[in-house]
């Protein structure tokens, strides 16, 4: 809950509410991706995040 509050505050400060639908979709599909994956190690040459 604390995280969602922070996220809303962040979007408000940054004026980036247009990202909200993407984030919602992301959490729905991302959750599915997480559930279907056993490892979170990705083969990035340079991790940007």
């Amino acid at each position: 809950m604390d995280f969602i509050k922070q996220l809303f505050k962040f979007f408000a400060v940054r004026k980036k509410f247009w990202l909200l639908p993407i984030v919602i979709m992301l959490f729905i599909f991302g959750g599915l991706i997480i559930l279907s994956q056993s490892s979170a190690v990705a083969p990035f040459i340079y991790t940007l995040f």
Binding site: R14, L26, F27, I33, A40, F44, Y46, F49
Partner: protein
């Protein structure tokens, strides 16, 4: 707010730093404790160490600050994927589980880890700083300047890949930024990748390889790969790169542009590869000089502070220095992400009204970068006994005389003394030392001690008072951050010079100190000072008394792919895993021939190639 803990983690080079009343008490990188190079895990061992050094518990710390802002990074990630869509879908699918599992919830992760040290830890003690602001703070606050322009450049932070800031007194103000994906660090890394080296660690190799080649492709880089403006800002032409939304650094258009495929890791290095390395190095220097020249003209401030991974390019730093736009240049000794932990802590400290910054000396506040753990003679003896080592105890004077004599005779010495260095350079606390005047020493050190490519150069550690007699440099360089030429009267021109090409040039005698003279007669200089490392200073002085040469060859106490040794046990293992002749550890001296234990032939296989 008096005691602040700074943390960097979850990306690469995790570290912790502790600031107490504005003084840097301790700082260390996690890789030194876990023995995993560039370890990105939460730096729990480093946190424990810095608290121990300050003789406090986590409970006593007033605030904890993390070096970047995860939500801002998340925003950049989303916007990048949106702007490149539908390209990058595979990368997106692979990245999101990691982001959603941990990277987005870093605060919880930090609290969870720190609660193992203090169950009562309150979330309101945790703060976050911006990545490039942390870098800027790490470059400005420990510097000896009241006012300076701060330039930070790296791969990428949240959005910024480079920033220009002004530091004055205790305030830092960001003046301008360059944003992702346009990044000098990532451009250099793209070439590191193209040359078959590992991104994030092979950049040194590109820099070391550059003097063997000619910058034939510099104009292609400056005209086709980037759109360079007169003030040094630029945009990458993204059709050649794949890092923004892909799993690799570059794409096939990049290889087509240079008419050669990506070099495979074990493929022979050809003249083409050397020319490519020379070209990206020359292009990087041109961009940096444009930027520094422009910011000097625009802001008219004579001091420059540098940080961010690009500041590890000591060849470019040397060029900035010789460009003479700035009167003084100071580079943070840990300019990468590890140093940002320290920067974040200092930033929070000076953000408080009650904390003032006063410049009281011409020296910086880094304590020679000796900010890590040290071991007493009794701790060392205990560790040596545990591994059945054979050793001799000497007093201070005997130790200096004995080691200088052994170096004079051509022995390779592991030198383990005092507090460990913070940052990627070994500066005479965890070093392997050798006589720089011996002709084949560079090859021997590279192939038999470090197990790495023969072309890689070594650095000279020179007594500061004798600096200008040997090198074309007249400022302090205690952190090995500036490259300059060996003086003309010390250079020896081999009669075969013109008939040797590429790596063959390694076989030429280049100067009176060939081991530390690169093929272009340059050297990455470390000046050694009496007040910051008296024992190392005394050793070089004793070596000078024997040889008239105030220079030692200094390389980090590790092999390729291994983090620099931290403990006496690490040092002994490395000693027994290589062909090092002698180990001088505290006041103890160990000879390889006296050891009952056998050499460990598999030592080098325990570490991944860097």
């Amino acid at each position: 707010m008096k005691i602040i803990l700074g943390i960097s983690a979850f990306y690469h080079d995790s570290a912790a730093a502790l600031v107490k009343n504005g003084e840097i008490v301790a700082a260390a990188q996690e890789e030194r404790f876990t023995r995993v190079k560039h370890d990105s895990n939460f730096p729990l061992y480093s946190v424990k160490y810095v608290l121990e050094e300050a003789k406090i518990e986590l409970y006593d710390v007033d605030a904890i600050i993390f070096y970047d802002k995860p939500l801002l990074k998340f925003e950049r990630l989303l916007e990048t994927y949106v702007s490149f869509a539908p390209r990058g879908l595979i990368s997106f699918v692979k990245a999101m589980p990691i982001v959603l599992r941990e990277k987005l919830f870093l605060k919880n992760l930090i609290i969870k880890n720190l609660k193992t040290l203090d169950k009562s830890l309150k979330p309101n003690k945790i703060f976050f700083s911006e990545h490039h602001l942390s870098h800027a703070a790490s470059a400005f606050y420990p510097s000896p300047f009241e006012e300076a322009i701060i330039l930070t450049m790296d791969g990428v932070g949240e959005w910024a890949t480079a920033s220009v800031a002004q530091g004055k007194g205790k305030n830092i103000k960001i003046l301008k930024e360059l944003h992702f994906p346009h990044s000098l660090g990532l451009l250099y890394s793209a070439f590191t990748y193209y040359l078959g080296f590992k991104v994030n660690s092979g950049e040194y190799k590109v820099m070391g390889l550059a003097p063997y080649g000619k910058p034939k492709y510099k104009n292609i880089i400056l005209n086709k790969l980037i759109d360079l403006k007169s003030d040094g800002s630029f945009r990458l032409v993204m059709k050649y790169f794949n890092f923004a939304t892909g799993l690799t650094m570059i794409n096939s258009s990049f290889s087509k542009l240079f008419k050669q495929p990506i070099r495979k890791e074990k493929e022979k290095l050809t003249e083409f590869h050397m020319d490519i390395a020379a070209s990206i190095q020359a292009a990087t220097e041109e961009i940096l000089l444009k930027i520094t020249s422009n910011i000097h003209q625009e802001y008219k401030i004579d001091n420059l502070c540098l940080a961010g991974g690009v500041a590890l390019n000591c060849v470019a730093n040397g060029k900035i220095l010789r460009d003479n736009k700035f009167k003084q240049v100071w580079v943070q000794p840990a300019p990468g992400d590890s140093g940002a932990a320290l920067g974040a802590a200092l930033l929070l400290y000076y953000s408080k009204k009650e904390n003032q910054r006063k410049i009281v000396s011409k020296e910086d506040l880094m304590n020679g970068a000796y900010l890590g753990p040290s071991y007493t003679n009794s701790q060392i003896e205990k560790d040596l006994k545990n591994v059945n080592a054979k050793y001799i105890l000497l007093d201070d004077e005997e130790l200096i005389n004995e080691v200088s004599n052994l170096l004079y005779k051509g022995m390779i010495v592991g030198w383990f003394q005092g507090r460990m260095e913070f940052g990627p350079r070994a500066l005479g606390s965890r070093s392997i030392l050798a006589n720089p005047m011996i002709k084949d020493m560079q090859k021997k050190l590279n192939l038999k001690i470090k197990f790495r490519e023969s072309f890689r150069p070594f650095a000279p550690a020179v007594i500061y008072e004798n600096l200008s007699e040997w090198f074309d440099l007249d400022i302090k360089s205690p952190y090995m951050q500036f490259v300059s030429r060996v003086n003309k009267d010390k250079i020896l021109i081999d009669e075969n010079t013109k008939s040797f090409f590429g790596i063959e040039r390694l076989n030429l005698i280049r100067s009176q100190i060939p081991c530390v003279t690169h093929v272009d007669y340059s050297a990455r200089i470390q000046t050694v000072h009496k007040n910051t490392n008296f024992r190392f200073y005394s050793l070089i002085k004793a070596f000078k008394d024997l040889t008239n040469c105030p220079v030692l060859c200094n390389t980090s106490f590790n092999i390729r792919g291994e983090p620099i040794v931290n403990s006496p046990y690490d040092a002994y293992r490395c000693f027994m895993g290589t062909q090092m002749d002698v180990l001088a550890i505290g006041n103890y001296i160990l000879f390889k021939n006296d050891q009952i234990n056998n050499l460990d032939p598999n030592y080098k296989n325990q570490f991944l190639n860097d």
